[in-house]
């Protein structure tokens, strides 16, 4: 059954721009090659953490919203867990209210980008 999911992961801040890009594309490639459709992806950039993780006070946040099979999330989580560049991750299934919220949030972001 196809469902909508949202994954947030925090990458190590000591990585270079290229390494972060490479890591992000690795995960999104895994999604697309396994029959998932990436609805939206969002980079929050370097953000301060509320508490230190692995003795680091900031992290590179990245958000992916995708539509795919339920089994895909478990394989994605295995990949995220094995990757040493990922400090933290969270996958959430989106219900219909969450979907509406996500769409609204995306619209807002796009608008604010357009005005800039």
């Amino acid at each position: 059954m196809l469902r909508n999911y949202e994954t947030v992961f925090i990458l190590n801040p000591v990585l270079s721009d290229e390494q972060t890009k490479e890591a992000v594309s690795k995960f999104s490639d895994h999604l697309t090659s396994n029959g998932a459709e990436i609805v939206a992806s969002e980079s929050w950039g370097l953000k301060k953490l509320a508490y230190p993780i692995q003795k680091k006070k900031s992290g590179f946040y990245f958000l992916v919203e995708f539509k795919g099979e339920a089994t895909l999330t478990s394989t994605l989580e295995v990949i995220l867990k094995r990757d040493e560049r990922v400090m933290r991750f969270l996958t959430v299934a989106l219900d219909k209210d969450a979907m509406a919220y996500a769409a609204k949030r995306r619209d807002k972001l796009n608008k604010s980008k357009a005005t800039k």
């Binding site: 947030v8 925090i10 508490y51 969270l90």
Partner: protein, 89 residues
């Protein structure tokens, strides 16, 4: 006799003694989904130490209190909110 200093008013003062009724802000504003990525918003449901406030204080309905709690816990996991702090605000 002179100590009779009781103040008396001709017309009763209009002091509002009734407490303001608490309400569930999600029901009132029609919010359906509580985002765990929005740390500033979730901060309204936490005390100074970062603990979740009971709904007897915030006035949130049970349905949404459960959602608030879920979102706060998710936010803590992704380091948007702290697990423990002092003087958060």
């Amino acid at each position: 006799m002179a100590s009779n200093s009781e103040i008396r008013f001709l017309t009763p003062l209009s002091i509002d003694t009734g407490k303001q009724k608490k309400y569930c802000r999600f029901k009132k504003l029609g919010i359906q989904y509580i985002d765990y990525k929005d740390g500033d918003f979730l901060m309204k449901f936490l005390n100074e130490q970062g603990k979740i406030l009971p709904r007897r204080i915030t006035g949130t309905s049970l349905k949404f209190q459960r959602k608030v709690a879920q979102s706060v816990k998710r936010a803590r996991h992704v380091a948007v909110l702290p697990y423990v702090t002092d003087l958060m605000k």
